[in-house]
Symmetry: C2
């Protein structure tokens, strides 16, 4: 077996097909970069929107009712999960830019895919857990005798409901990012 | 360009490296099949354990207190999500068996990876949302004035807590299945 000779043959046979598809590969890499930036903005917006939510109800003179995101541990988890995913997306942006420049990089795409999968699980966990609590805040549950708190804390509920959007958007984008990485690895 | 000639060269150059790694490829495919079966059992166990949970407390003569999983919409979602993922895993088992026989199949692995990613998001969403509610049932929340119901519904709480394990196990296995598919595509 002559590895050197084989390599030459493979390179020349790849060169024939490489040129027409180079533009497509670059296009996919640019799409990956754009989706990654949007997902990072989504998670950041979610974390900030949830993390700064606070409402005080000075209805009674003696007792001041106050609602804050960290009164509920699930919402704290939501902020932490979104912050971690946002940090990951920003930290790994250079790798995505590297893929636009060097479209033939394969192992680094596999590494991105693995991390993206773990981050998808994390952001989905945060968003779903928070949704369960937000739903309960809106609707309450008569069986468990949990009352809806949104009638009193209207602004608080609007904010925490809105902050879910960015997180779910990021989860959907991460699914696409995983598929993009897989297709890129498949094509190389 | 002679595509026929190129193909022959590529096949012969691949044959040189294919034989030593065939065993590894088959091993990975068998691991994929085993993990898929365990994940299917996990989601099935979770769905059944949650779906059959019911506890009646005949403490008072006039009122009979009853707790059932479908009193809480989030737990109903948990059962539905786990059932869908279990159905998917069982339906796609033949494809996984096909990969053990034909280790060089590439496009079908990509299809599996895409579906696995969507199913990972679904099972994680179900498990996390249910966890948020189960946590609330155990701990309650003094700020929102939601009382812990587990002091009364002890058996109910044990069952719904236990049913989360299978679901989270399946989520972890799906992460590994996605990585396995990606590595297989990478190696082909």
């Amino acid at each position: 077996m002559k590895p050197g000779a084989d390599e030459t043959v493979e390179v020349s046979s790849r060169d024939n097909t490489a040129r027409p598809t180079l533009g497509l590969s670059r296009g996919i890499s640019i799409l990956d970069l754009i989706l990654r930036i949007i997902a990072a903005i989504g998670t950041l917006a979610s974390a900030v929107a949830m993390g700064t939510t606070e409402q005080t109800l000075p209805i009674f003179s003696q007792f001041i009712f106050r609602a804050k995101y960290n009164d509920l541990p699930t919402l704290t988890f939501f902020v932490i999960a979104n912050s971690i995913v946002c940090g990951y997306l920003v930290l790994f942006l250079p790798l995505s830019i590297f893929h636009v420049i060097k479209t033939s990089a394969k192992i680094s795409r596999l590494i991105l895919l693995v991390f993206d999968t773990v981050m998808l699980a994390l952001v989905t966990a945060g968003a779903s857990a928070a949704t369960a609590i937000v739903y309960l805040a809106h609707e309450g549950n008569s069986y468990a005798n949990w009352l809806a708190i949104c009638q009193q804390f209207n602004t608080f509920c609007q904010r925490i409901s809105g902050s879910l959007i960015g997180s779910f958007g990021a989860a959907v984008l991460l699914v696409f990012l995983i598929i993009i990485s897989a297709v890129s690895i498949y094509r190389l």
